[in-house]
Amino acid sequence: MAALDQTQVKEGVDQETVDAVREAGTYKYGWETEIEMEYAPKGVNPDIVRLISDKNQEPEWMTEWRLSAFERWTKMDEPKWAMVSYPEIDFQDQYYYARPKSMEEKPKSLDDVDPKLLATYEKLGIPLKEQKILAGVEGAETAPAEGRKVAVDAVFDSVSVGTTFQAELKKAGVIFCSISEAIREHPELVKKYLGTVVPASDNFYATLNSAVFSDGSFVYVPPGVRCPMELSTYFRINAENTGQFERTLIIADKGSYVSYLEGCTAPQRDTTQLHAAVVEIIIEEDAEVKYSTVQNWYPGDENGKGGIYNFVTKRADCRGDRSKVMWTQVETGSAVTWKYPSCILRGDDSQGEFYSIAIANNYQQADTGTKMVHLGKNTKSRIVSKGISAGKAQNTYRGLVSMHPKAKDSRNYTQCDSLLIGDKCGAHTVPYIEVRNNSSRVEHEATTSKVDDDQLFYCRQRGMDEEEAVALVVNGFCKDVLQALPMEFAMEAQQLVAISLEGSVG
């Protein structure tokens, strides 16, 4: 792109064309919103933890919970076992809380909302209709929406800007709001479930998150309710030198169903930023949860400068019999990814599914996979993981399948495929399998391949350029996972897969 900047544009070529060419191949969401922000002092200490708790107007028990997590965190060491390398993070040299000054009080009308905030949502592709709702304008929820509805919770740095379709969801009994609001409005639910799936002392980053999480989403689906629309959360990091620590808590009560989507972007910067999130899902008897992620954090430039460090702990607890969970993730962004969405199959006949595409280009590093812990009888799990490495990237699949003694007649099937594009990248597979009973069956299939020259030649013969041909081959390679995504995300993910690999060939 630097070369393009220096190129003299010919006379007669309009600015729109020049901008379109400039944008192609670059990170689409790398722009920054210049908005007045309010920061907590740099670093993390008990005072910062109390300050975050105060800003969210939390009750005393929550502040105590955070402080005890912080105390534990100070005694913990950063994990080093993952196949990723990055310079040491100075946890005292970043902000742990940042929010737009205009969000100090919830705006009452669209006119009160900072126009820059509205412009941000417009640029991110959130329709104007939703903008009104995101800004918290009363009555906007009742206006008819076109097409299929998706309720959105928009998180901007450390705060949730707004949640759409809350009133309509409330009619069905579904609670969908920011976690800070849930702590204030539904403390009994939060107290009952928070930290029961991912304990505050689970791991270094989860413990840090427990101490300093600022916002996130909360979902409660009551017994027997099928959530009338898809729920989604959009995470946007905007402020420089600020970490984002969000917490998501989803509770699917007996016989309920919910599909939840998650998307994220960040500005293009030369410095790295930390994102440490925790997602907890509780699934009761006969309930089902689908959780889809399209992760598109800034991955750093072609020389590995900048990008987001994405250290995430996600876990679903299938507590009830016949409960089901499905994780689907498309990981294309972030400089370093450390993420293992897990399923604890506690209830008898419960099922866990994990579908993943992890794409690493240039200097990206991804150490990702899943854990399937079979505790109940006749539990079933399926893992389909597709790793694609290009440039000088390193991609690792790390998975655990554990069959406990009481998990009689349980089944697991794992398919783990890696695709290499170029001769300087790496693909690694680290499967752990533990079977502690005689009646369970575990299958593991793995392949490593490179993009076949014959396939590329065939495509190029039909008029495609090399990048289009690679995108086509890669999309074919990923189709099992793309099919598992909800329709709204599948097309976006398909395009994202192609864009992420731009510049990886030739």
Binding site: Q351, K380, R382, R411, Y413
Partner: protein
């Protein structure tokens, strides 16, 4: 003596076709079942074979009953 005009669909023809069509349909249903209920981890060979066998048995029963 003028020959009887041939009926468009004779019972024998239908019964003969059933003998081939039902096993094929059974096999196809077996494939569909395996794909929609993939978490049951059923071996597709058994599903297709079982479906075809079931179709053949149903066809036999129909032929015996109606033939």
């Amino acid at each position: 003596m003028t020959p009887k005009p041939r009926q468009r669909f004779r019972k024998d023809d239908v019964l003969t076709v059933l003998g081939y069509a039902l096993p094929v349909l059974g096999g196809l249903l077996g494939v569909a079942y395996v794909n929609t209920n993939y978490m049951d981890f059923i071996n597709p060979v058994w599903a297709v074979g079982g479906g075809a066998l079931l179709g053949w048995i149903i066809a036999r029963v129909i032929r015996k009953t109606l033939g």
